[in-house]
């Protein structure tokens, strides 16, 4: 008997320590959130959750250990309820529980969900178990579809945002090697500039978006080849269509 009591006490002590650790971690998290929310470095803030989860794992390990069964055989019996403020209790709980009242005690001593919640859970479980396989498959497929649409929208947004923020490469090319060669050769050797020769435009020249910067685009001669449409523009159109798609459904 003596031995068991001692063991129980040790277990309780260990659990209490763990719970206190957890509590202080949560407090630190809340304080950080409330006081440093403007300067917080969010990735390192996430580490706080890792600490919390570590404490929780430790706690559940103790509860699962061999020592725990003795706790299960211990009965907690509320002897007295009252609406009057209990200073001692208030101090112990740091002001969170001022009195041992009828609203609180059932929740504190609860070992299974509320009857109402339990009933709803049962209903749901029943519904899930009676569901047709095909219907279930269909719903899963639908859900996956929705998720993938959301994923698409988000990644598109990210792409846009990154493209804008870096202003680099972008989706559209800003220079064309064919044009560079055409210009350099023209200035260097007069290719395409000698009288009686057609304008020098390599067949593969990329010409997206006729530049609006220089007023009206000069009319090409009748012999001039038709400019191939820019592949980049086509790509953009497809993307735009993708973006619209989810809203049609």
């Amino acid at each position: 008997m003596q031995r068991e009591e001692k063991q129980l006490e040790a277990t309780l002590h260990a659990i209490l320590n763990r719970v206190n650790d957890l509590k202080s971690a949560i407090q630190a998290l809340i304080t950080k959130l409330e006081t440093e929310y403007e300067t917080i470095h969010w990735p390192s803030f996430l580490d706080n959750y890792a600490i919390l989860s570590g404490h929780l794992t430790g706690l559940s390990k103790i509860l699962q250990a061999e020592l725990a069964p003795s706790l299960r055989s211990v009965v907690v019996l509320p002897l007295q309820l009252g609406c009057e403020r209990d200073e001692e209790l208030s101090r112990l709980t740091e002001g969170r529980v001022p009195a041992c009242t009828h609203d609180l005690v059932p929740d504190l001593l609860r070992t299974k969900p509320e009857p109402q919640a339990e009933q709803r859970l049962q209903q749901l479980i029943h519904k899930a178990s009676t569901l047709n396989y095909d219907t279930a498959q269909k719903q899963v497929a639908q859900f996956t579809k929705v998720i993938s649409h959301v994923w698409e929208i988000i990644s598109k947004g990210r792409e846009d945002w990154e493209g804008e923020s870096m202003r680099s490469a972008g989706m559209q090319p800003t220079h064309s090697i064919a044009d560079t060669h055409a210009l350099v050769t023209a200035v260097g050797t007069g290719k395409g500039l000698r009288p009686g020769m057609p304008a020098c435009v390599p067949p593969g020249a990329v010409a997206p978006g006729m530049g609006p910067s220089r007023g009206p685009t000069p009319q090409m001669g009748p012999a001039a080849p038709i400019m191939p449409k820019a592949p980049s523009a086509i790509k953009t159109n497809i993307k735009a269509a993708n973006q619209i798609h989810p809203y049609q459904r």
Partner: protein, 223 residues
């Protein structure tokens, strides 16, 4: 007194002296590239941020260049090419006569093209003079665009137009602006090439400034 006795210093003397001292900036270090019309504004904006002469907006220019060739009638050697440039937007400026040598690309460790280059300011009689010498007009074009400076470096962003015979508006060669980064320096100052590379890297990926051998390109287009 001894100064009077000594032979008078002629222009040839001072020229050869300058050549010996290697102070004539007769080498052009050059990188070339192009930018599409749609992106030229972005490039100009970036250049405004990088360059020196931007207090009153970018400097514009509008030049016409005529390229003459002087052939040796007896031989089939490569004709000598001379370029005459005149400013269309500032008629009182002198004509510029320019000789450009063969571009030397070197190996891939050399950062820029190097070619010899001589510039002389001339009067308007120049064209007649060249005609009298037996020069023939090979081709001509006009360039209109913007000029930037950064230290010794000169950056031009310009549209190249074909000169039309009729009163039609000049026809651009391509849907891009020609971008050139160049420095004139005396022989052997290869360090400037590294500076140019560094500057060109700042314009990436908007413009890819490179060593381009137009002679090789010309052959490629023919074959």
């Amino acid at each position: 007194m001894s100064a009077i006795n000594a032979a008078p210093i002629t222009a040839t003397d001072s020229l050869s002296q300058a050549l010996k001292a290697n102070i004539i900036p007769n080498q052009e270090y050059l990188l070339q590239g192009s930018v599409l019309d749609s992106a030229v504004e972005v490039l100009l904006h970036r250049l405004r941020g990088l360059c020196d002469n931007v207090d009153a907006g970018p400097e514009t220019f509008d030049d016409q260049e005529v390229c003459f060739s002087l052939r040796d009638p007896s031989q089939q050697a490569v004709p000598l090419m001379l370029r005459v440039r005149k400013a269309l937007d500032a008629r009182d400026m002198p004509y510029q006569l320019r000789y450009i040598g063969q571009p030397d690309l070197g190996d891939k460790n050399r950062p820029t093209v190097v070619r010899s280059s001589l510039d002389i300011a001339c009067s308007g009689m120049l064209i007649e003079f060249l005609n009298e010498l037996g020069c023939r007009i090979e081709f001509e074009y006009s360039v209109k665009g913007y000029m930037f400076r950064k230290g010794r470096m000169k950056i031009t962003v310009a549209k190249v137009f074909k000169i039309s015979q009729s009163s039609m508006p000049p026809e651009p060669i391509s849907q891009s602006y020609l971008v050139e980064l160049s420095v004139l320096a005396p022989q052997g100052q290869d360090a400037i090439g590294e500076d140019m590379r560094a500057f060109a890297d700042q314009l990436r990926p908007l413009v890819q400034l490179d060593k381009i051998d137009y002679k090789r390109l010309g052959h490629m287009a023919v074959t």
